[in-house]
């Protein structure tokens, strides 16, 4: 008997499906368009964003632009782009009735789920990388490949600055993966794409609001929203690793239970719709 296909086959075909869906291009298009508009605005108005870190450097070095994008994007833009696919990837099949189609073939349910998780993460990572590359590339064209001032006030040469921008995006992926995991859980339990996408975004926004409630300020270091700022530790001299380490385990605390719960629900549930 030949080996039964597994998660890798599902993953490959999930990517193929994503490549054929408008939603994917909506997300990736926004990941390109939003930084582009931002850079064009900087080029035309020469404006600054004084109230955020690196905001005052956006017209002196292109390297500041992707970093400001990371700051603004954490509020809802990048979570939305992530949720767009993560919240849809299971629920879509529920609504379309195709879940029964794929679950009566020769792939075990847990392999189907793992393939979907990997595809949703691949898309989210692609979107972040794409936004980073576009923001950096256009930023350098408009504001130049110049040294950048770190959060500690030291001057960082453009070569090292570029590496730090890249590393910052990698650090940013930690909370993005956690958001994607929650999106996947919602997608599995809500069985409705719109509810899962909106639910994921709501979850992300509500976590940011928690810190407004008096007395709950102590929770801040453990909220998912806080982990979106962990990369700033990289832009200190010397590098402050503490926020990165905390982000790693805090994000895992959100992502792992969400993925596990989603998997259990997916494997055990009745497929009665469609």
């Amino acid at each position: 008997m030949t080996r039964r296909p597994g998660a890798r086959t599902v993953y490959r075909w999930e990517l193929r499906k994503l490549r054929s869906q408008k939603r994917t291009y909506l997300g990736l298009g926004a990941a390109i368009l939003v930084p582009s508009i931002f850079v064009i605005a900087v080029a035309i108005q020469g404006g600054k964003a004084e109230d955020v870190p690196f905001g005052r450097y956006i017209d002196t070095t292109g390297l500041a632009i992707p970093l400001v994008m990371l700051l603004f994007g954490s509020i809802w833009f990048f979570p939305l782009i992530t949720a767009l696919v993560a919240g849809d990837i299971v629920a879509n099949e529920d609504q379309n009735g195709t879940l029964k189609t794929i679950l009566t073939r020769s792939v075990e349910r847990h392999h189907v789920y793992i393939g979907k998780v990997l595809a949703a993460l691949t898309y989210a990572i692609t979107a972040i990388v794409l936004a980073g590359v576009v923001a950096t590339g256009l930023g350098v064209i408009v504001s130049g490949f110049e040294p950048i001032t770190s959060l500690s006030g030291t001057i960082v040469q453009p070569g090292r600055g570029l590496a730090l921008v890249g590393a910052s995006h990698l650090a940013y992926l930690m909370p993005i993966i956690a958001i994607a995991s929650i999106g996947l859980l919602f997608s599995t339990i809500f069985r409705n794409s719109a509810a899962a996408v909106v639910g994921t975004l709501m979850f992300s926004l509500l976590l940011q609001l928690v810190t407004i409630i008096p007395g709950l300020d102590g929770l801040r270091p453990y909220l998912l929203s806080t982990q979106f700022d962990a990369w700033q530790g990289l832009l200190r001299t010397p590098v402050d690793w503490a926020p990165m380490v905390r982000a790693a385990w805090v994000c895992a605390l959100y992502a792992v239970p969400a993925l596990a719960a989603g998997l259990i629900v997916f494997v055990r549930r009745d497929v009665a719709g469609g």
Partner: protein, 313 residues
């Protein structure tokens, strides 16, 4: 996981129950489908046919009882579905992919070289010409056929089809039945749920009739007919005289005017009918019509599903 057992029947269901809260969708169903059967799973809408098929395909878990396909439990692992294919309700595909890509995707999830069968199955269901069109633009009938193609990719020994002809136009229905007939003739075991009596009548050798989740009959279609007995219709030039002849005739019973005024009677075999025709001619009531009237499946179906309801009430 149980090993495949070549002696096990394609489908063996024992004491199957599925409850959704207070609603009992499937209630203590037992049925066995033997190799080579074209098994009709018949019942009105909402009788629990689809729910039973979902359990046979491992899509939902029974509340109680067991389902075995070729001796294996489809609720444990998809490996139980080896040699089993089919669909419940309408077959569903990815509307944004073309027909061929949909099949290639499913073939990849089947493994075992199913991808080499894609073109062949497209040809079998006569969709080769439209294979590069997006499924979103397919008609209902084309999707049904693609559903059959998707099932055939698995080289099934057991095909589970839920209302395969529903929603098709008359030509589509005829083609679908011809296709099922051909597959059955090739030795495939087919389980076919339907509320269309003619479909079951035309295709199936065995039937289970369900009503509100409960089974009211399981067995050979021919036995069911025999049990219902054959009646005859009689028209003569003088029906009053004919009735009195019938009353005194050996082997003839229950002669009476039916709803349409035509005499209906039961006869113990052909000889009794032949003797009756002689007696009628001799009496001067000349025969205009004397024809066997087999109980249609429809009659039996209503008798079983509605009769049971009357008894229960």
């Amino acid at each position: 996981m149980t090993a495949p057992d070549d002696g096990a029947p394609p489908v063996e269901v024992r004491g199957l129950v599925k409850r959704y809260g207070d609603l009992v969708a499937v209630d203590a169903v037992d049925l066995t489908v033997e190799r080579g059967d074209v098994f009709g799973y018949l019942g009105p809408n909402g009788a629990g046919k689809t729910t039973s098929l979902r359990m046979m395909l491992g899509l939902i878990r029974p509340t109680a009882g067991t389902v075995r396909v070729f001796g294996r439990d489809p609720g444990v692992s998809v490996s139980a579905l080896e040699g089993v294919a089919g669909f419940v309700e309408a077959p569903r595909f990815y509307p944004y992919l073309d027909g061929r890509t949909n099949l290639r995707l499913l073939a990849a999830l089947d493994g075992s070289g199913a991808d080499t069968l894609v073109e062949e199955t497209l040809a079998t269901v006569e969709l080769s010409d439209r294979a590069k069109d997006k499924v979103g633009g397919y008609s209902h009938g084309m999707r049904q056929r693609l559903g059959i193609a998707a099932a055939l990719l698995r080289r099934p020994r057991l095909l589970l089809l839920d209302e395969p002809a529903t929603g098709l136009d008359p030509a589509g229905m005829r083609d679908m039945r011809a296709l099922i007939r051909r597959l059955a003739d090739d030795g495939m075991t087919v389980v076919l749920s339907s509320h269309l009596l003619t479909e079951v009548d035309e295709l199936c050798n065995r039937v289970a009739i369900v009503r509100r989740g409960r089974m009211v009959y399981e067995g050979e279609l021919a036995d069911l007919r025999r049990a219902a007995g054959a009646t005859y219709r009689l028209r003569t030039t003088d029906d009053d005289r004919a009735l009195s002849v019938c009353a005194g005739q050996a082997g003839i019973a229950e002669a009476a005017r039916g709803d349409d005024g035509v005499i209906e009677l039961r006869a113990d075999g052909d000889e009794a009918v032949a003797a009756l025709s002689l007696a009628l001619t001799g009496s001067g009531a000349l025969i205009l019509e004397l024809a066997p009237h087999m109980a249609s499946l429809e009659d039996l179906f209503f008798e079983l599903t509605e009769g049971a309801e009357a008894n229960a009430a």
